[in-house]
Symmetry: C2
Subunit: 286 residues, 2 copies
């Protein structure tokens, strides 16, 4: 039974994990840590965590499960820092959006009989703006929570048990779990997550140049424009690490979209436009 | 006072106009006509229209205001057909998504002291799927309803009065009206409406090729993917006329987006990525 959890990083995702754990009926202790005390205080006020730790390493040492909920490169730093000070009766997991580098570090630093277990995780949920204040107990309800657990073979028995229990808590938070190979994960999310984000960023940046100085014209677009640019509000601070840790797959996806747009542009008056609409309709079939 | 309205085309928009007129308190008669009797029957059943006409021309002749709610080229056909048989005490208006061709036809065929008035209109509202069954009395609430009334000068006094009364009804339906030059209108909607649509079509078609055969992978994308591809369901039948009647402006917008995407792709690991995110954030500032 998991009774002591710590959450390193009480931003939107970390704080939502705390709230969702409570909503799911988790009755143990939840300790929070955050680089800036302001976000930690908000998480505490929302009762997403029971207390705040001054030292994240000490919080992890006192926990059975540590959830790292910070950007990718900061996650890799925490993995290096925690591996030597945790033991085989402890589990570390994360919520990072790319998984190849994190799964490699998990295989290198964790998941031996003497070391802590590490379960690479990625809930496909979020908002276009970050921060603890926007946290939501239902953020993961109906969402897919991916795992790329490719180095589990040598894991300690206690680590395996904790891993299974954590998967149970993730399901109790309302998420649907799915296991993928880490390389396949990064290729897949380049298409279904990173490409939509970078498309919204490019479209929003372009429209800022074209109509940004005339707010009354921005309103003309209505719901379609609002939806297609909502992700334009996403923070660079998070997406920089994704761009750096999944560059090739994102380049490939962006180039493919550029080619589809050029094909549409060259065929606005030909029957090929119909075929492109039919392919798009098929993707959105009920 | 407007007491007799006919709606030619009882699809999503035409039927929604009927429902919104009733919601706004319009107590006169509303006659519907549709090419397929099935859509007309749905509009009748929803009480969006009081009766169905067999002949659209006769319905228009018996009305003070005729609302044409069909795709662009069919709208132009109706304009040709109605101009000779209507008089200066009648108004025709439309809901077409491009306005240059329609405004030119309005100047050529309508808006003289002897002829009917024509007010080119464009409500910035819709859904990704068409049809009377999806009609909504609140579709226009909070939306912008554009007018490109560039040939009003010679209009009959009765036509001017009807035009002002129709503008009042549009406001009563909850829309915010805005007047634009027709050429400027078509350039603007290429950016804020047509570009988002064709982007969603290209993205959806691309994703159909990449992950369409694995529905469980489509679900991975979550809300962001659903939003960015919702418009992928839009029907070719409507967008073909838009692509044909606003080709140059749409080509320009698509090319500009291709260039922004290529710029992003070439700068995934440079500080320029931050600047593109900041431009996008600025467009979505509160």
């Amino acid at each position: 039974m998991i009774e002591r959890i710590s959450i390193l990083g009480t931003g939107l995702l970390g704080t939502s994990v705390g709230l969702a754990l409570r909503e799911a009926g988790f009755r143990g202790t939840i300790t929070g840590w955050n680089r800036s005390s302001e976000q930690g205080q908000i998480a505490l006020k929302l009762s997403a965590v029971d207390s705040l730790a001054i030292d994240g390493v000490e919080a992890a040492q006192a926990s059975q499960v540590t959830v790292i909920a910070v950007p990718i490169f900061a996650t890799l730093d925490w993995m290096e820092k925690l591996a030597p000070v945790l033991g085989p009766e402890q589990l570390v997991t994360d919520v990072g959006s790319t998984k190849r580098a994190i799964s490699e570090a998990a295989a290198r630093l964790y998941n031996t009989p003497e070391r802590a277990a590490f379960l690479p995780g990625h809930p496909m949920a979020g908002k276009e703006r970050g921060g603890a204040a926007l946290a939501d107990a239902n953020l993961f309800r109906g969402a897919v929570w991916l795992f790329t657990d490719n180095s589990a073979a040598q894991r300690s028995p206690q680590g395996t048990l904790l891993t299974n229990n954590w998967r149970g808590l993730v399901s109790a938070m309302g998420a649907n779990t799915l296991d993928l190979d880490p390389v396949r994960h990064d290729e897949l999310v380049a298409w279904v997550s990173h490409l939509p984000q970078f498309t919204a960023t490019a479209l929003s940046a372009l429209l800022e140049e074209e109509v940004g100085d005339a707010p009354e014209l921005r309103d003309v677009g209505g719901r379609a424009l609002r939806e297609m640019t909502r992700l334009g509000a996403s923070p660079y601070s998070m997406w920089r690490d994704i761009a750096h840790s999944n560059t090739e797959a994102i380049e490939k996806a962006l180039l493919a979209l550029e080619q589809h747009l050029a094909h549409l542009r060259e065929n606005l008056r030909t029957p090929e436009l119909k075929e492109e609409f039919e392919r798009a309709n098929k993707f959105r079939r009920e």
